[in-house]
Symmetry: C2
DNA sequence: TTGACGCATTATTATATTCTAATATAATTC
DNA sequence: GAATTATATTAGAATATAATAATGCGTCAA
């Protein structure tokens, strides 16, 4: 009946919390275009190294992102392609529709 | 280029915060089935009157819900039908897919 | 017009989140 | 192997969020 069953509400809310921050949401949006390393994410988000690293850690622990070390860099990507739909829905709500 | 433009990121993240709590997410899900009054929402969410009222106030201020007083009851409904897509996307991620 | 009901608001305390700064680690280059 | 680069981790202070309890306020019925 209800769209999200009671037993999944907690996980879903926790998932939302993993995205409910300017920096983390920005990271997710940029990663929709493909994997990026931390330094690149620093540039596009404007966050400090330490701060970004902590946000990335949270998103990793929450299962939103996965990472892979390549040489001395660490690349992050979105763990589940279904996040794209979530972002699209969010855009439909928060971007006055001829968004840009 | 990016799915949510920089200037809208803050509002979108704030919107996510408005939903990123068990009680608030539960409220939103139940309201997908139609408007409900506070007492009914108390029953379905299990929240205390005061606590629920505060969550409803937040969702109202954040533009997620609108309310309407009818006699001595206050009915709440979802402000924007586009939230349904958001919930569907969330379900796709957090409900192991033959959900229930 | 008093009492009960439905809801909102406020104050307080408890807890969680976020940021900055400092330090650590691992890979790379010289 | 010392310095440099890329990233992670920790500690601490600042701020935000959440819950409970108490009170307020409008509406209705008796």
């Amino acid at each position: 009946m209800e769209v999200i069953p009671r037993k999944n509400i907690h996980d879903a809310a926790e998932g939302l919390r993993a995205l409910a921050h300017d920096i983390r949401l920005s990271v997710l949006c940029h990663l929709l275009q493909g994997p990026m390393c931390v330094r690149e994410l620093m540039e596009v988000t404007g966050a400090s190294q330490s701060n970004l690293s902590q946000h990335l850690a949270k998103m990793r622990l929450m299962g939103v992102l996965v990472n892979e070390k390549r040489g001395q860099q660490v690349f992050y990507r979105i763990a589940n392609p279904a996040f794209e739909q979530l972002i699209k829905a969010l855009k439909a709500i928060y971007c006055p529709d001829n968004c840009r």
